[in-house]
Symmetry: C2
Subunit: 719 residues, 2 copies
């Protein structure tokens, strides 16, 4: 009989369009008959691969295939897949390189349409290896075979008890919770070990190897709809297909399945964006961070955080409120939690008066009702303190998750026996998640694990820094769930425009409603003086040339001029530029009014080779280069996103109105930045960078004072 | 027969004055007969305390004392210490609060002169508890008894096999390596557990409780000379006696014994320093960080890092070169190491050509000879690759430590059996330390631990982020060993001066050779104009008042004035100040020349309640408040320290000469900052803060443009 509640839920989800048809990889990832191609008792790999079937409790058939048909691992041997004589769903190939093509041929002939390939010597080596891999894929596909790898430790679908992998699975197989997808094989093994030690069950694990045909994003896409996977942990070296990754991430957000990613290679700068200042400020890593923010993907910086954060999310799901209520037994731990929360931006809201009143009913006199709450070691003698304090804090309207800081001692069963039921009783039946946080990171303790299962206890996570960081991520992710992202704009259309110089670029920006400074181009000192007089007040003079990007460095800028100084400055500029940039084409000198007071911002776009057009904003002038104080977003960007970006700047305080200066109108700035992004997108992918520096701000008065468009050379992708 | 080598070394150390006489606590910490006062089979604490004697292999006698003389833990019971009838070295008291005084009385009468007290209810509770604790100490000391605690889990001297503690010691007792001193009892237990799991032996562990008589610094001081302790790990909530801590730390540095500290409560600001801007910028935590830097104490931010860093240092000792050579089996791990090294400032020098040539002899073709070096998974098949690559990298002249990134698999004994000997062979006999770094943090594996001991293998540390951070600390500490610190200047002498206003303060600074801006005080618009004319060029006008610290906020500053504007500005200022600060005493208006170009720095001193006079420096103007970009040092400060501080500023690039501006003369700035510090010290402890803002810098031209002295009110400590 079907359980009506899940059926109703499924119907509702279908109505909302959330459930998709079965994923194309679902059948491939759950084979029921498998050939081990290269099986031999002598091989370490063969032993490792074979033992996984028993550990996982594989319900299907496994066949040993090797050149001579020798029995292996106590099973009969076959000289070819064709010899097996029955339908085989998948094969794992670990024969020597020179035998791979023959093995594929044989498997295909036997009707196998999915092969995982452990054998290395392909694209991971050199150009010849790349070529060989391409040939292998063509060869296999022509025979109707899909390849996983090559050079891959394979995958284990623990939900289906199906290992096709040399990643050693260890008993006990824990209830499935998170999936692990890794581009590094060695790291996949380490991540699995660590998850197991932390009592975090794995639903699916894959080392994607060379990703000839099936990449990280394909597997993420499959896992998003895989119901036993509650969170997806990704170890990435590169995102090969941003569009596919973004689509999977957006779908994951829609159905509230968290993706946590550790991406390595954070320090590298993209060569493509070195063309202009913008490029050197944006950098690859800031763009990836921006992509993660946009798609609600949780980013972490260490392998421990990857597993622990995913493990935590799998248990908590999303929080209905961002605040974290912390209950602790020790002043030391409380203080350390407060330190870490502050450093990591985790919100520990003060407890509400009603909560404090409830706590006062039973709290020891010397405890504290701050958040973190210190119920003192008295809880070890009166374990009802655990129960009552967890329930009181969970009832607080500002709390979305309760973190119970308590370290079940390693070998003191007495404490475990008395304390854990108190914690479990506190958490039971609550609608808000409770987690147990240990002071230091340690392995799951078998005795404690048993008790945790026995009492249906919350997830245990440690140490404090890993836990607080992970909790902060859960809180952040929960706040991202309502959002949706515009499509990736890798190749924008072009409006056919091609501005280059300051004046052309400012005029172009004006068409997008961006306020730009008035200016005239003059070619003599007299004309400069006349233009200045017409503007009134003091003026700035700047060289106008399509060949000079950095005008200050060639003596091409003079500021704060009035009266006779204007004509003199014109001559100075022309002389200086003639000396320092003798080959530059000169259009004259731009005369503009000076803007006094206010702040100078900077906005610059770039083309990221993976994610497409991006924008960086920051405090302008020399500060952008001296402090590298920028915030980055994919384009197009929305006004609320820009406001959030502005608030992340180190110098954000300056925007609030400093020492009597008017506060900058963040919404007005945001609208203009959005338009700068749109103006850049409309120039198409041939634009390398559009830079507005400075973007002058005084309260709600905002004006682009200088601008520069840099085009890719040779101009490419301009359809 | 005495081993001649240690004897010679000891003689040499004596000559250098390094070895001190036996520490006053040494005898107390190694008792040979112990009374458990409060012993009873029913008590959890009593059970815990008793079991430690067997686990530690305590070679002396333990006596059970309780009110009724009941036997406990299978031992005979005594109704009092006096009843025991033989000499007892120490007692551990865990009787109820109301029985503590009687217990001390009895113990003293039995000739016990050292008592550890677990019983709580003293200073950790309230004012009455504080009073009771003071009475207890007086009571005990009058009877010749020294108290450890109260409210303390006690100490275990594992080197002497002496536990006087409720911290559960677990078998096997590992060879001693690090000492742990904690002000938090719960944390002491957690730290011990973690060290044990990480295969790091403990020489001594103490939870200092209320520190009535023996505090953190006393124990550190004892441990510095304790020979089985190779590194000291400290978990601190507060430093009660900075002088004592500093003395112990300075001695530790002299004999090259590392101290690693986790100090909690990093976010709190001292109320005392809120008087002036300086205060709010300095903050407690920056001062503690400065104290650690000054005394070569290693500071960490998590409990895991505390133990792992101390454990690593205990094995490596100091490095003769700061560079780290990394050997890895996987591109993924290499990249992650590079990311982390960059983020943590760990120096991974490029390998020398000779090293690369040596590596090329045996490296797999597809490996990389960068640092991190990637020898690939081929090392698992040919384990001589471990040996050869470790030796080649260790031979590199820029490398001080070799980090072998390799994760001994948890349950694959075959890999452990083949790989670890190759690593061990590589490290054997090298003068440079080698450590094994695992990708993730995991518990010591019993099988691997056995093999590690069998092969005399290097220390194993993980995961990558903990390890790289710890390695960076070893490198930093090694560079601090040659240095020595001036004495702590908690109470400086005073030269009797008492400057308050801008002009008085600038004149006072000039006496220390600090260049100050010329200025005259005027009391009329006419006089202002005349003063401006005498100075030539544009001038600044600023209100002169002993009552106005923030002149801008009351409209008391006008800049860039010339001609008729000067007299007008005088009137504006007087009118604005009269309106906004009607009660302020006004001395007139200061007329000073304007300084164009260059940079504005900031320097401000403060009195830290624990560490005494400190100085903060940073970029001046609004930036100091907007960015909080300051560097802090204890006073007096040396010129090289100031240069190092300037280089840590976020805006340090501006000092290098930006966009054609001349580079600032860091040495000249440093000499002036040193003198600012000296000028503050000479004003004595009554000075709350001496602030120079801005300190104008243009190349080698440096000038104090404004200054302010703030005095503590009421002026205290002015002898």
């Amino acid at each position: 009989m079907q359980d009506p509640a899940p059926a109703r839920a499924m119907k509702a989800e279908k109505l909302r369009g959330i459930i998709r048809v079965a994923h194309r990889l679902a059948a491939l990832f759950a084979p029921r008959s498998i050939a081990m191609i290269g099986a031999t008792d002598k091989s370490f790999w063969s032993q490792e691969i074979f033992r996984n079937f028993a550990v996982c409790g594989f319900p299907g058939k496994v066949f040993m295939v090797n050149k001579r048909g020798t029995p292996a691992h106590g099973q009969p041997g076959y000289a070819s897949c064709r010899d097996i004589g029955e339908k085989i769903d998948a094969g794992y190939i670990f024969v020597p390189l020179e035998a791979v093509f023959d093995a594929v041929e044989d498997a295909a002939a036997a009707g196998i349409n999915f092969l995982s390939v452990l054998t290395s010597g392909f694209a991971e080596t050199d150009a010849a290896g790349k070529q060989l891999q391409a040939e292998l894929l063509t060869f296999a596909n022509a025979r109707g075979v899909t390849i996983f790898g090559p050079n891959s430790l394979g995958f284990v679908n623990l939900t289906a008890s199906t290992p096709l992998s040399a990643i050693r699975i260890m008993p006990p197989v824990l209830p499935p919770s998170i999936a692990v997808v890794s581009q590094s094989g060695a790291s996949a093994v380490d991540l699995y070990d660590f998850a197991q030690q932390q009592n975090i069950g794995i639903s699916f694990i894959a080392a994607t190897g060379n990703e000839g045909q099936i990449d990280l994003a394909d597997i993420i896409d499959y896992l998003v709809d895989e119901p036993s996977t509650k969170a997806i942990a990704v170890f990435a070296e590169t995102i090969r297909d941003a569009q596919k990754f973004a689509t999977a991430a957006e779908h994951a957000r829609k159905i509230k399945k968290p993706i946590v990613i550790l991406k390595i290679g954070r320090g590298a700068l993209s060569a493509q964006v070195a063309l202009a200042h913008t490029g050197s400020l944006v950098g690859d890593d800031k763009v990836f961070a921006a992509a993660c923010r946009r798609y609600g993907v949780i980013r972490v910086a260490s392998a421990e955080d990857l597993i622990l954060t995913a493990g935590l999310l799998a248990q908590t799901g999303f929080l209905r409120r961002p605040g974290i209520g912390v209950v602790s037994l020790s002043g030391g731990a409380s203080t350390l939690v407060a330190d870490m929360a502050e450093e990591m931006g985790v919100v520990l809201p003060p407890l509400a008066p009603a909560t404090i009143a409830a706590l006062r009913e039973f709290m020891p006199q010397y405890g504290s009702t701050l958040n973190p709450l210190d119920i003192t070691g008295a809880a070890l003698r009166d374990t009802s303190l655990f129960t009552k304090s967890i329930r009181a804090v969970a009832a607080d309207e500002n709390v979305g998750l309760v973190a119970m800081c308590f370290t079940p001692p390693n070998n003191i069963h007495q404490t475990i026996d008395t304390a854990l039921p108190g914690v479990g009783e506190g958490a039971r039946g609550l609608t808000k998640p409770v987690v147990i946080v240990t002071t230091l990171l340690k392995n799951s303790n078998d005795y404690a694990r048993g008790k945790i299962t026995e009492h249906g206890l919350p997830f245990v996570i440690g140490g404090l820094d890993h836990a607080m960081r992970a909790i902060g991520k859960v809180s952040w992710w929960s706040g991202e769930l309502g959002k949706s992202a515009p499509p990736l704009h890798v190749k924008g259309a072009t409006n056919g425009r091609h501005p280059v110089t300051e004046r052309e670029t400012l005029d172009y920006l004006a068409e997008f409603g961006i306020p730009v400074i008035p200016a005239s181009i003059v070619t003599s000192g007299e004309a400069a003086a006349a233009a200045a007089a017409a503007l009134g007040g003091t003026v700035a003079l700047k060289i106008a040339s399509p060949d000079i990007a950095h005008k200050t460095e060639v003596g091409g800028v003079r500021l704060g001029l009035s009266g006779a100084a204007v004509a003199a400055a014109f001559e100075d500029i022309m002389a200086s530029v003639a000396a320092k940039a003798p080959d530059a084409r000169l259009e004259g000198v731009i005369v503009s009014p000076m803007r006094a007071g206010g702040l100078e911002l900077f906005a610059g776009t770039a083309q990221d080779p993976i994610w497409g057009p991006v924008i960086a904003i920051g405090l302008g002038g020399v500060w952008v280069e001296a402090l590298n104080d920028t915030a980055t977003s994919l384009l197009p960007v929305s006004a609320p996103e820009v406001v959030a970006m502005l608030k992340t700047l180190r110098g954000a305080k300056l925007l609030q109105g400093f020492r009597g200066a008017p506060p900058a109108d963040l919404n007005a700035i945001a609208e203009i930045i959005v338009q700068i992004g749109n103006a850049a997108l409309a120039l198409g992918p041939g634009l390398a960078s559009l830079e507005i520096n400075p973007l002058w701000v005084s309260g709600a008065k905002i004006e682009a004072l200088d601008a520069l468009a840099v085009w890719a050379e040779p101009a490419v992708n301009q359809e």
